[in-house]
Subunit: 202 residues, 2 copies
Amino acid sequence: MKSGITHIVDDDDAIRDALAWLLRSRGLTSRSWPSAEAFLGEYLPDMRGCLVLDIRMADMSGLELFDRLLALGCTMPAIFLTGHGDVPLAVQSLKKGAFDFIEKPCNDNELVDRVIAALALDHAQRKHAASTQSIEMRLRSLTAREREVMDRVLAGQYNKVIAAELNIAMRTVEVHRAHIFEKMDVKSAVELAQLLAGGQQD
Amino acid sequence: MKSGITHIVDDDDAIRDALAWLLRSRGLTSRSWPSAEAFLGEYLPDMRGCLVLDIRMADMSGLELFDRLLALGCTMPAIFLTGHGDVPLAVQSLKKGAFDFIEKPCNDNELVDRVIAALALDHAQRKHAASTQSIEMRLRSLTAREREVMDRVLAGQYNKVIAAELNIAMRTVEVHRAHIFEKMDVKSAVELAQLLAGGQQD
DNA sequence: GCGGCTATTGTGGATATCCGCAGGCGCCCC
DNA sequence: GGGGCGCCTGCGGATATCCACAATAGCCGC
């Protein structure tokens, strides 16, 4: 439930059912689609969990589906299943960011392990993304002027210097500075620097 | 020259020579070893460039060689060459951090391109590592007491609070603080925070 | 037009930081 | 035993930051 859903995309009914059954037997929730198009049609950015994609499908290869999902901003880890060992394809997939690339037939336990690991990765990624987004939200709540001041505060400039650069009174800079700290939910310039350097750039 | 050397490890004389010739014809410097052991015997941590490893070798697989090099702290990007398409091996290699995994016979241009890309990556990695190491150097030059103070400065504590916690006078904290800034080559706590958060943790 | 938001400025005081000047104590090495 | 180094401390002044109180002005939407 909380750990996310395993999204299975495979045009072979038997394999879909077998995978769904396997995952269900291990307490994992899954949902299946018979084609890449079917999945793309119902894909939503707030889906969470992982993907299990067949490489060889009628309408679109699993890799192409993955490409399209990436373009849509999907960050779910993808496990590719392939029937015929194609090394270049495996290499290509992994270099594009696939979580794993497994040859069929594969060991049930191994597959389940990989799915669990993928679900865990998704969970961790989302947790990390959440804090990053929280920071960006706060940054967006700053006014243009506040951002100008913040840049200079982060550059270690004194309020006096900032005031001179922006041609405003020092007092104004102090007010902006206080607003920035309040909005960014930090209590010092040091914390602000750590928040932005540790998370992302502005 | 500056871009580093391509280290070729393959137990097939003909392939080694062919690779060396190919690289040389494109202006790239290479050095060859006939076995994993031979390379390990002469490996030095300050080698720079990239690796081209045959997966299938008599004494040790290219992957195992890569493992050992990783254990030795080697960060050179590795390109694996394989004759027989083994998907699990390719997957394993890439997940361990291989730069690429190419099937033989392969296109000359493609291989050279990958080698050039690997050399570029190594160069970029080293540049980044250099700044990280510079930071660590400076951190190590701090005395134990200075580190204690620095931790608290980074936590945004006032000198007064730091002094109370360490049971020393505020003036002493100020002195330590000044020494820290001097040694870390920054001029404010903000810069210090950015330096450490942007580079690495302490 | 009133209210809300943003940007601006001023006064003045409480706190903090930054630094030079001066000095003491303990440890280790030559 | 002198000299270097790390650690500690005090004094005093120049600067900065933090903040409450108080106010003016433009823009925008209801």
